[in-house]
């Protein structure tokens, strides 16, 4: 399973030049910065700095890009915890408990936990990748559109059940999100729901919609608040508390392992990974916890579950990229461009012939995890000061930043207008107990869900019994039903056996 001589070659290559290590530090810092600024994306950072990789060899280019990825994955959790703005879609679940912890003055601990879970997640993720890159690539090859559609439906259902209010409203939110995600041109070549606007032909910009629903709508709710953290004494930024949070992470070993396994597996599914892994991990953690009601109120286990999964989903998506040459999302798509710039094609042949480079990337990521702790500890205190800023200054500043970021994502006014429209929708949703996360994930995955339906229809020739020939699909659908009715079924079975 492990090619020891290739692993040794990988290590030799890695230590052959100090530049291999020097490029990792700016990479992590760039990732942290782009992840932490609302509206800027990891994929954007990688795309902006992609031309710089022309002056590097292929391995250095990959080390640089993966270090941006690693820094960005954690960086996204900083605004999620401090401002309820998930920096990326993979930090959505981090905000569920991170933000309530911040509001109670636990921002230092929450950031420390997120940093700890991210670093251990990266280590575990690449560790799993080191051991299982072969089997993972075979498993991913078996995931067809039917399985992807089932995973998306499962994800949306899970998010719907996450809402603290009405389960029905949660599922309605997810379904509406999916429908919004299908706006624009269809496979049939016609435009739907665009209201005649050319800006909407490619669909509603998903990330600006996410920024609007999560961030802007939350800021509207905070206009009467004086500070993010009400208690003056709790507002201080403390390295000690961040370190305590870091240490606290290791008191959740099962949460990290479970999150990491979910992250690697879901992360390796092209396109679905990063957005869904953190949510599924969070949901599973909530279901298995003795106090599920404490989730969403500031339970550290929620942050651990989300951060462990989103960090390991990086390793999963890189596994798919290396093993199959298929990018799992925006960031890995930029990496694929780096492959092309260096005349390299990912896929089974690449794994077979360039195993040493694959191992070098994996080993470098172990080092990146350690560096992330150091750089994160330097970077977090600067950003954690946000809790000291009065809300009447913070609210308009972040609202403005979200419009800048949205413009950056779309390159035209459709981004800012999407933020505006979805901030109103998000505010209405929150006020009437609809699930904002479910709607957001629906918007992110709606187009992909539709594509999966279409490909399944085309492959099966319209014969739906085809689904019964796909055991993985059936297994995922069973998981979907269990996650909806599992508790009721368990209670019914217990009642029957007691009789």
């Amino acid at each position: 399973m492990i090619d020891l001589s290739a692993a040794l070659d990988g290590l030799t290559q890695l230590f052959s030049s100090p530049y291999n290590w020097l490029i990792i530090i700016p990479g992590i810092l760039i990732g942290l910065m782009f992840g932490a600024v609302p509206g800027l994306q990891i994929s954007m950072a990688m795309a902006i700095f992609l031309p710089a990789t022309l002056y590097m060899d292929f391995m250095q280019a990959m080390l640089f890009l993966t270090s941006i990825f690693t820094g960005g994955s954690f960086g996204g959790s900083i605004p999620a915890i401090l401002m309820n703005i998930p920096g990326t879609s993979s930090s959505i679940a981090t905000s569920f408990d991170g933000y309530p912890m911040s509001r109670k003055g636990g921002h230092n601990t929450a950031l420390g936990i997120a940093l700890g879970a991210s670093c251990i997640g990266v280590l575990l993720g690449y560790g799993i990748l080191f051991l299982l890159i072969g089997p993972i690539s075979k498993l991913v090859l078996k995931m067809g559109p039917a399985e992807m559609a089932a995973i998306i439906l499962w994800g949306i259902t899970l998010i719907g059940t996450l809402s603290s209010g009405s389960l029905l409203k949660g599922i309605i939110s997810g379904l509406i999100g999916i429908l919004i995600g299908t706006v624009g041109y269809s496979e049939a070549g016609v435009a739907r729901g665009t209201l005649g606007s050319p800006y909407l032909l490619d669909g509603i910009p998903a990330i600006p919609a996410m920024i609007g629903m999560f961030a802007a709508s939350e800021l509207f709710r905070l206009v009467n608040t004086k500070y993010l953290v009400a208690d003056v004494a709790l507002r201080k930024v403390s390295i000690g508390a961040i370190l305590a949070g870091l240490k606290k992470t290791i008191t959740y070993p099962w949460g990290i392992i479970r999150g990491s396994l979910i992250g690697v597996f879901i992360g390796s599914v092209p396109g679905v990974g990063s957005s869904i892994a953190n949510l599924i991990s969070y949901m599973v953690a909530k279901k298995q916890n003795e106090e599920p009601d404490s989730f969403g109120q500031g339970n550290p286990a929620g942050i651990v579950a989300s951060e462990a999964a989103n960090s390991t989903s990086e390793a999963g998506s890189i596994a798919t990229l290396l093993a199959l040459g298929i990018p799992g999302g925006g960031a890995t798509a930029v990496m694929l461009a780096a492959f092309a710039m260096h005349n390299i094609t990912g896929g089974p042949q690449f794994i077979r012939e360039e195993t040493d480079i694959v191992y070098a990337i994996i080993f470098a990521n172990f080092a990146q995890a350690a560096l992330l702790i150091g750089l994160g500890l330097l970077f977090i205190p600067l950003l954690a000061n946000v809790v000291k800023v009065p809300m009447n200054y913070l609210v308009p500043s972040v609202l403005a930043l979200s419009l800048f970021g949205a413009f950056g994502l779309t390159g035209n006014m459709s981004g800012p207008i999407t933020v505006m429209v979805f901030s109103l929708l998000g505010w209405v949703f929150k006020r009437f107990d609809y699930s904002v996360p479910a709607a957001v994930v629906g918007i992110l995955l709606g187009g992909m869900a539709e594509d999966s339906f279409i490909y399944t229809y085309q492959i099966s020739g319209g014969i739906w019994t085809y689904l019964f020939e796909r055991p993985t699909t059936i297994a995922i659908l069973i998981l979907l039903v269990l996650s909806l009715f599992g508790n009721h079924l368990l209670k019914a079975v217990t009642r029957l056996t007691n009789r």
């Binding site: 800027l40 902006i48 009405s166 029905l168 409203k169 599922i171 309605i172 379904l175 509406i176 999916i178 429908l179 299908t182 706006v183 269809s186 496979e187 049939a188 070549g189 016609v190 435009a191 739907r192 729901g193 802007a216 509207f220 709710r221 206009v223 009467n224 009447n392 200054y393 609210v395 308009p396 500043s397 609202l399 403005a400 930043l401 419009l403 800048f404 413009f407 950056g408 390159g411 006014m413 800012p416 207008i417 933020v419 505006m420 901030s423 109103l424 505010w427 209405v428 006020r431 009437f432 107990d433 709606g446 869900a449 539709e450 339906f453 279409i454 229809y457 319209g462």
Partner: protein
Amino acid sequence: MTYKSHQAKALASHQIADLGILVVLAGLVVWYFLDAKSASTQILNLILILPFTVITLLLCLIQFVRQLIRPPIKEPKVERVKSVIPVISLFVAYTLTLPWMGFDLGTMLFIAAFLALHGERRWLWVAGYSLSFASVASLFFAAMLPYPLPMMIFPS
């Protein structure tokens, strides 16, 4: 009007609004389906939209009946809505005028207006903060983005 009757009235209007939102959401789903159907009735066009519309409407109906039988008893904070409306209006105006005012001037005016709306009366401070934030943010994004950022004062 006593505090209790005021609260009861607020709760009743919240319940009506809750039902209204459900109806509006269902209406939007129906509109989207009809729009998609009028574009094309091919399976490829409606393969997801049709079943998801049906399921959503069914769930909306169940929720509607539920809310009629057992209305939500959570007390709404009406005063919050009153204080949020000016902020929302300001944000909408800021967004819609960006193409003409540019990100630099638009952001400066938005932040200054927001601060004034929230009781900041140190005018020098208002001007200084809004000007410096708008300048730094617009210059940073103009430098980082690969396309021109609409600007009024600074070069895009």
